[in-house]
């Protein structure tokens, strides 16, 4: 299934975690994937990074369908595809 996925950077509202019951930020981040993934696949296998300092959010591999349902979730403020940059 990973062949039909693309990497996205998902940005979350930093206030969101305070109203949630998750013990840690990575588990809060993972919960967004668990809510959107339809397959039996382990959500953690799609999570590339969990960000806390430079940004509140995570990078994950998502299918088109998962992307659309993730956009609907409260506390998701922005989703951007991963960009390739280069040395100057």
């Amino acid at each position: 299934s990973s062949s039909s996925t693309t990497t996205y950077i998902v940005q979350l509202n930093p206030q969101g975690v305070t109203s949630s019951s998750f013990a840690s930020k990575p588990s809060w981040h993972l919960s967004f994937l668990q809510q959107t993934m339809s397959s039996e696949e382990d959500a953690s296998s799609r999570l590339l990074y969990s960000y806390h300092s430079a940004m509140e959010g995570f990078a994950a591999q998502l299918s088109e369908l998962e992307l659309e349902s993730l956009k609907m979730l409260p506390d998701v403020i922005s989703i951007r595809p991963d960009h390739r940059l280069q040395i100057h």
């Binding site: 990973s2 990497t7 990074y49 430079a54 940004m55 403020i77 390739r84 940059l85 280069q86």
Partner: protein, 657 residues
């Protein structure tokens, strides 16, 4: 680097005075470099004489392929690698060519990190050229390397992960010699990550990009980032072409001329243009051996790599190469190490060379190598490739901020590569030459580290202000910095060329708090959701602007835009005294003829340190906006200390209709 620190006025003196002594060579400061990794065995990362690792440091030396924790020391205090974004995007992994560890497979990261904070290395050179003592701009600073760039590129998910960790590790400066094209701030992961870094007191220094001289090509343009363009040095490596007709063409080369007799010998000259195979560019396999064997081959610059063209000529049996700039490159002189005798000539020379080739049935030439020549040419000048303003996404901020040396910079190089970086090059060197805003960026980061060491409590904006307001707009001969054959404008040089000696002691600074950037985004009309994305702050711009009527971001440079028939604009600024307690500053204005500039008050009287005073500037246009036509003018506003003319705090301004 073996020379740029001297060019910038950084030196060891018997009197123990100057920026290096005032800043203890950058000791105690940690520069985080996001790049292609590091070659830890390079003498530039030797920790002899380095102080202990700062107590605040929480980073690690991450183990991986050919890299273990003992590769870090008191100079290279941290090393990590970020590969997940790259790994999932790269379908054909380049097995074996790349170290899966912080170790640098490419060379770029070793070069940039040593430029920022490399240790002192005596007798450094590139094959005998540019010999000298190599040092980084802040030779006492600690370096932490975050490998985010791989042979296939640098993925923003990896970059963001590195910034995320670097903030927690405790770096003071982040140096990013990477980027893309200018994009809106809410889509720009570097801008978003940098905002959080600045909130943590970290100064983020980025390369402006190499898409110059195209207008509005400057990248990494967020107001909280220090954006660095590239300049030239007054160091030349003559590699003069003597044509068969007895005339000379000036070129430059790093080839060690005394090693190969063929270099100085008169040989037949050939420029292969037929076959429609890219032979004029010396593409791989495009040069017929029978046509080029034993000859000096002319290759046009562009499309494929410059050093690669040399390898193609060598493989086809050519004896030497003349690399000819095209109209795009003009007189740009970024030179390279080559695998055979070679020299780079400018566009004007290339026109003369081709005219000579076409004028005779058997053209000949010889290349005369002239070694290293310092101080004979005008510099600094703007590098032709250096990205230019005005800022595409936010023209209300003048970008780039400053320029710094970025052409023909000699710095550390890994031992897995030859000096050309080509896989075919089996030579091994500790230093090589590179050009780009990538090379300018670590000059800026190193200077920022010096300021940070001298003034540990200054905010990132204060450090940036010190670098900008003390930058030079004239070259070493006292004449305007040039951009090709005309004086450089503010969209090429920003506030000017970095001057570390003056930046350590600016007298006044323009400080900016993170919340000021939020207000600035409100004034630009960014939506609530866009501001939340960029800053992670949930703000009501209506409320913010109601409480801060007439707000102007306290930026050290000024960009005035007259649009929709506006003829007058007022800008507010606030300066903080970081010099002598009792100081009086008088304003000097250089205004373009199209604009009337009035400053109030004309004098600022400070009675104590850290005192802040405000002033207002009214810009009134003397001409009307022409529909459908954009025009620019520029000037500068300088606060001069009445008792101490060393403290001249200069703000460039651009006016756009």
């Amino acid at each position: 680097t073996t020379y740029s620190y001297k060019f910038l006025g950084l030196s060891l003196s018997a009197s123990r005075e100057g920026a290096w002594y005032k800043s203890a060579f950058g000791r105690g400061t940690i520069i985080g470099v996001l790049d292609t990794g590091v070659w830890p065995e390079s003498p530039s990362f030797n920790d002899r004489g380095m102080p202990a690792v700062p107590k605040k440091w929480r980073g690690i030396c991450q183990e991986g392929q050919n890299f273990n924790s003992s590769n870090c020391n008191r100079k290279l205090i941290g090393a990590r690698f970020f590969t997940k974004g790259h790994r999932v995007a790269t379908y054909t992994p380049d097995g074996g060519r790349e170290y899966v560890s912080p170790r640098d497979s490419h060379g770029h990261g070793t070069h940039t990190s040593s430029t920022a904070g490399g240790a002192t290395v005596p007798m450094a050179s590139v094959l005998g050229n540019a010999a000298g003592v190599a040092q980084g701009m802040a030779p006492g600073a600690h370096i932490a390397v975050y490998k985010v760039c791989w042979l296939n590129g640098c993925y923003s998910s990896d970059i963001l992960a590195a910034m995320d960790v670097a903030i927690r590790d405790g770096v003071d400066i982040l140096s990013l010699s990477l980027g893309g094209f200018p994009i809106p701030l809410f889509d720009d992961n570097i801008a978003i990550g940098s905002f959080r870094a600045v909130e943590h007191g970290i100064l983020v220094v980025c390369a402006a990009g190499n898409n110059g001289p195209i207008q509005s090509s400057v990248a990494n343009e967020a107001p909280w980032i220090t954006t660095i363009g590239a300049s030239t040095l007054d160091r030349r490596f003559p590699g003069i072409v003597q044509m068969g007709n007895g005339k000379y063409l000036y070129g430059e080369s790093l080839y060690p001329g005394n090693h190969l007799k063929r270099a100085g010998k008169e040989l037949e000259l050939v420029y292969v243009t037929s076959e429609n195979s890219g032979s004029e560019y010396c593409f791989k396999g495009s040069l017929p051996r029978a046509k080029v064997r034993g000859k000096i081959v002319v290759c046009d610059r562009g499309v494929n790599g410059r050093a690669e063209k040399g390898e193609v000529v060598k493989e086809a049996g050519g004896a030497a190469m003349i690399l000819a700039n095209t109209v795009i490159n003009q007189e740009e002189n970024s030179i390279d190490v080559h695998v055979l005798p070679a020299t780079l000539i400018g566009f004007k020379e290339s026109v003369r060379l081709k005219a000579y080739i076409n004028s005779t049935r058997r053209p000949t030439a010889r290349i005369v190598f002239g070694g290293t020549v310092i101080g004979k040419s005008r510099a600094p000048a703007v590098a032709q490739f250096s990205a230019r303003g005005p800022s595409y996404s936010n023209p209300s901020i003048l970008k780039p901020d400053v320029i710094a040396p970025g052409v023909n910079i000699i710095a550390a190089w890994p031992q897995n590569l030859g000096p050309t970086g080509l896989p075919e090059d089996s030579r091994r060197v500790n230093f090589t030459i590179m050009s780009g805003t990538s090379m300018a960026c670590p000059h800026g980061s190193g200077i920022a580290a010096l300021i940070r060491s001298a003034h540990p409590k200054w905010s990132p904006a204060a450090i940036k202000s010190a670098v900008m307001t003390t930058a030079e707009v004239v070259d070493h001969s006292g004449k305007p910095i040039m951009d090709g054959d005309k004086p450089a404008g503010v969209f090429a040089i920003g506030a000017g060329h970095v001057n570390p000696e003056r930046a350590i002691d600016p007298g006044l600074i323009y400080d900016i708090r993170p919340e000021d950037y939020v207000m600035h985004l409100c004034t630009l009309g960014y939506t609530k959701s866009e501001i939340l994305t960029i800053t992670h702050r949930n703000v009501s711009c209506r409320e913010v602007l109601k409480m801060n009527r007439g707000f102007s971001l306290n930026y050290p440079s000024i960009s005035v835009i007259f649009k929709h028939g506006t003829r007058s604009k007022m800008i507010k600024r606030r300066v903080t005294n970081v010099g002598s307690p009792n100081s009086i500053y008088k304003v000097e204005v250089m205004a373009p003829k199209e604009v009337n500039v009035r400053v109030k008050p004309q004098r600022l009287i400070f009675t104590h340190i850290n005192q802040s005073l405000s002033y207002k500037v009214w810009f009134t246009s003397r001409k009307r906006t022409e529909k459908g036509k954009m025009s620019f003018a520029q000037g500068q506003l300088t606060w001069v200390n009445s008792n101490n003319s060393f403290n001249r705090v200069k703000s460039p301004f651009s006016v756009t209709w």
